[in-house]
């Protein structure tokens, strides 16, 4: 059934993606504000404006523009950036790896820390570590990544300068890499000294993104671990004399992971969305940071390209999470 399920699921993403594209198109065209007026120097005459409007296709009707727009998107043609005078598709693809790497490291952080905190809090329930973790959770969850990013910059970048506060690497260091996935490629190549140079640049942005998610994962996993510990098979294991730690990790954890991963999946998407602000604060060269420049210059083609890139990322991530759910949940797999 997996093949047909996958096909159906893929087909279902199309209407959402189409809706997203329609919204972006309408938002950027119908809302007042003339990008051409922003581009031309003050001495330009009306005929210059008209010529530029024609160059960017802004003189045609809305429906015509939408048809042209869709056709171009289908060919992978996202237009030319007004502020950077470069191909939008190339710009977005060039910056995307940085954002993906940041998101991936954040997700790894969240899963590892969430798992560890939930296990500790459950194992030591009723004692002070549990209260400490619960307290951390409520604060971590209440503040958004924008504030976490600034708090981290102030705490670990300025007051106790442990970590670099901007960029992806030290420009003085040479990067003998073929792709934009700096950290991943250096790890794959086994160049651990380069990886050790790159990692500090990722720690604070990734932490800012993952703190709220760590709290979510810990909370859900903790409560599902508690449910699992109340089951008969745990009682049976306990009667057989297995240690509490072994019961927790070997018996309760596998059953408790499913709800935690489901909830975490939904929040991965928020995390990817959070990269927009975190990249801006850490001057991290991903697509979120590029959106900021595009927004300031009202660079519509670039805004469009970045927005669509995010939407596609979201849709694909949703799909991936569904598939992951299929893999980890035996009940769905065998139905």
């Amino acid at each position: 059934m997996s093949g047909s399920y996958l096909a159906k699921r893929l087909l279902l993403t199309l209407p959402t993606l189409f809706g997203v594209i329609v919204i972006i198109f309408v938002l950027l065209r119908v809302v007042p504000g003339d990008p051409i007026a922003m581009m031309v120097p003050p001495e330009a005459g009306p005929e210059d404006v008209a010529r530029l409007r024609a160059v960017y296709g802004l003189d045609k009707s809305m429906v015509q523009q939408f048809a042209i727009f869709l056709g171009a998107l289908a060919r992978g043609d996202f237009g030319t950036s007004i502020s950077l005078k470069q191909d939008v598709f190339g710009l977005v693809v060039g910056r995307l790896p940085a954002t993906l790497e940041l998101a991936l490291v954040s997700i790894v952080f969240s899963l590892a820390a969430g798992l560890a905190l939930a296990l500790i809090a459950t194992h030591l329930r009723g004692r002070w570590p549990e209260w400490l973790i619960d307290g951390f959770n409520s604060v971590a969850l209440a503040l958004p990544e924008f504030l976490w990013a600034l708090l981290l910059v102030l705490a670990l970048g300025v007051l106790v300068p442990l970590l670099p506060i901007s960029g992806r690497f030290d420009p003085a260091v040479e990067l003998p890499l073929a792709t934009q996935f700096y950290l991943i490629e250096s790890l794959v190549r086994g160049d651990f000294s380069l990886a050790a140079h790159l990692l500090p640049y990722l720690i604070m942005p990734a932490l800012a993104l993952s703190l709220p998610l760590i709290a979510v994962i810990t909370r859900v996993l903790k409560s599902s671990l508690q449910d699992a510990l109340a089951q008969d098979y745990v009682l049976f294991a306990r009667i057989n004399g297995f240690s509490a730690a072994r019961i927790l990790v070997r018996y309760a954890l596998p059953n408790a992971l499913i709800p935690a991963i489901t909830v975490a999946g939904v929040h991965f998407i928020f995390l990817v969305g959070g990269t927009v602000l975190v990249e801006l604060i850490f001057s991290y060269p991903g697509i979120g940071n590029m959106l900021y420049g595009a927004a300031v210059y009202r660079d519509l083609p670039l805004i469009q390209g970045v927005t669509i890139a995010f939407a596609v990322l979201f849709v694909l991530l949703n799909l991936l999470i569904d598939l992951l759910y299929l893999v980890i949940n035996p009940r769905v797999r065998h139905s």
Binding site: V20, F146, T307
Partner: protein
């Protein structure tokens, strides 16, 4: 039984304190602030707060890169924050609750339509929508409010719809319907009062989010540039992090306190109004 005291409901007390503080700063800013928030004093740039060396007692919390008084700017910064949070959260609440009630109560094509639109909106990062919207409309406080409402109503709508969907099958609704009570009366006399505790939490959450959205948009430069905003303070201070970290730290602390306080206010109000939690 007491539900309003510090012992019984510390969140409510903390939240109410923060909300009151914000309100007082908003209404009485000209009386409270020792300086004009936009007044530049180039002889007194980057002064630290009074607890640090090199301070000037005239500027209790120090000055920014243009010699503007940080204390006064923090107080005046409450004005746009409170305006955006109250107007933005109220409008998102009205749109979200209205559509959520319609979708959940009537179901059918209304539900399909509303849910699909919510789904599409939720497939964007909310801050991305806010930034793109602000870029297209142009800077200003009204832009910030529009952005807050556009990203806020979907969250309210989804929660309310789910709640109404479950509630409409309960006995008190079905019996009201069997007794021939009109739809409008059921919605306003049966459903809305039961949604009140949930609305309190949602309102608190949305106000907190509105404060952050306002700060983010002001930080990027999409709020009004004629007034003092916490976001603009952060943006200005960011270039002086190493010389004068307090310029950034003060507004960050104020925003964080506001968000925590407003969330606590929502939780506390729910605890005080929800009969199930009153134990």
């Amino acid at each position: 039984m007491r539900v309003w005291g510090w012992r019984a409901n510390p969140r409510l007390v903390f939240g109410a304190f923060v909300a009151l503080l914000l309100l007082v700063c908003t209404l009485f800013a000209p009386l409270l602030a020792p300086h004009d928030p936009m007044d530049q004093d180039l002889l007194n740039q980057l002064r630290p707060p009074v607890v640090m060396t090199g301070n000037d007692p005239a500027f209790a919390l120090g000055t920014d890169e243009l010699g503007r008084d940080l204390f006064s700017r923090l107080i005046y910064g409450a004005q746009p924050a409170v305006l955006v949070m109250v107007v933005g959260a109220t409008l998102s609440g009205i749109v979200g609750v209205g559509l959520g009630l319609l979708a959940g109560y009537f179901g059918g094509w209304i539900d399909t339509g509303v849910s699909r639109v919510v789904e599409i909106f939720m497939s964007f990062p909310p801050m991305l929508i806010a930034i793109v919207l602000a870029a297209v409309i142009g800077p200003g406080l009204d832009t910030v409010i529009i952005a807050v409402v556009v990203i806020g109503w979907t969250r309210v709508c989804r929660v309310i719809r789910g709640e109404v969907l479950a509630m409409r099958e309960l006995d008190f609704v079905t019996s009201a319907r069997a007794a021939g009570v009109s739809h409008l009366r059921i919605i306003f006399h049966e459903l809305v009062p039961n949604l009140a505790p949930l609305l309190a939490v949602l309102f608190g959450l949305e106000m907190g989010r509105a404060v952050v959205t306002e700060a983010v948009l002001a930080f990027i430069g999409f709020s009004s540039s004629d007034i003092a905003t916490w976001g603009a303070m952060i943006a200005g201070g960011r270039s002086y992090l190493y010389q004068a970290w307090w310029i950034t730290a003060l507004p960050v602390a104020v925003i964080a306190l506001s968000v925590l306080g407003l969330n606590a206010l929502g939780d506390g109000l729910r605890q005080a109004t929800d009969p199930l939690l009153r134990r």
